[in-house]
Symmetry: none
Subunit: 232 residues, 2 copies
């Protein structure tokens, strides 16, 4: 059966430890060089090259040459979503002991990170919860949200680039993305990306180098309180 083959192939692509390590790094939504990815996976460059070629072939990654370097990034937000849902599974799979150990080891990642191009972790959940609590977002279908009229006003006042987000018509506008650490949906899609952009543009958050971890600045913490009515 075709669907079965496709399922096992895409899962097998993610099922190798080296490739999984690369994908985890790429979950920050940014492009990384082949060397970086080889380093993080703990393998030689030539082995990494093979892995990367296979993932491009399997439509998990997109590659772009730039000078001597080749940059790889996730092919789409669907890839990010699939990885997140697998991580959610892995979270329940891990024993309580090892899970708490992992969480203790990386509390910052749990607090705030990027998931492809939008905010995740406690901050992503806080933003999403605020939007739904104030009636700015309403559930629409099993995996989407609808931005209400008050929600549009709120986003405009915040400086979110709504026209730009709407322009990417091929993309889901307000998508639900399951957060692997909080185990609840946060806002993704074009709107989620636009909101994250606003956080970076207004200096509320900063990406940490070579990591999906995001640091919430002091002004970001204040903004969460004043604009979203949330404390984290």
């Amino acid at each position: 059966m075709i669907t079965v083959n496709a399922l096992s192939e895409v899962a097998a692509l993610m099922g190798d430890p080296a490739r999984a390590a690369m994908l985890s790094l790429l979950m920050d939504g940014r492009a990384h060089t082949a060397s970086d990815l080889a380093l993080i996976a703990g393998i030689t460059a030539q082995t990494a090259s093979g892995h990367l070629a296979r993932m491009v072939e399997g439509n998990l990654l997109a590659a772009r040459a730039q000078g001597r370097n080749r940059f790889y990034r996730l092919a789409s937000s669907d890839v990010a979503h699939a990885i997140e849902s697998l991580m959610a599974l892995a979270g329940t799979r891990a024993t309580a002991a090892s899970r708490s150990a992992a969480w203790r080891r990386d509390p910052d990642l749990r607090f705030c990170r990027t998931c492809y191009d939008h905010l995740a972790g406690q901050v992503g959940i806080a933003v999403t919860d605020s939007l739904t609590k104030h009636g700015y977002l309403e559930p629409k279908g099993p995996r989407d949200w609808k931005l209400t009229q008050p929600g549009e006003l709120f986003c405009e006042r915040l400086g979110v680039d709504l026209p730009g987000a709407r322009q990417a018509s091929s993309r889901h506008f307000a998508r639900q993305c399951l957060d692997w650490s909080e185990r609840r949906p946060h806002i993704s899609g074009a709107l989620g990306a636009a909101i994250a952009d606003t956080f970076f543009k207004r200096g509320w958050a900063e990406r940490l180098r070579r990591s999906r971890t995001v640091r919430l600045t002091d002004s970001g913490r204040r903004a969460l309180g004043s604009h979203f009515g949330a404390t984290v």
Copy 2:
């Protein structure tokens, strides 16, 4: 990072063609026997047994023994969600699984039969559904039911020997038994046996010789309608 290892492990579990075929079948949300799963995967029973054990160990599946059979099902909706998102990545959709040939082989057995000493098949399910729908049975624990006060009245009116059923104190009173053809629980235990006895005693059903198959008589069909509000 622990989450990376966990990601690759859970993805690798789904990444084998045989296991993926089994998971695809299980996407219908029902429980299936080890033999069925081996058949659909195109492998021998012993190989399938190994795969199934690994998936139970990895918390992808839950197993439940029932007589000589062992039924496997997806461990949670999170598993289904992860598989679905992987299928979405592959650009394919989870189609309703095709039913096995065994399913069609014996329509009478599927319609009504005894399971030990109680009714099973479509009739067993119809009786059980009626009892729960009217509030006569309530779920109690993972594998039992509770007979409510209205349920007791209903049974007495029907002529079910409740005192006799309660006498066998060593036995489960109202047990959930997984129906292999309907793949849903039906009523078993002392109460299930007492109800089946009523069907035989009142001429609603007849055992066929040398078979577990049970024939529903015309009066039985009428009784199902008048007493249980069910048509089969």
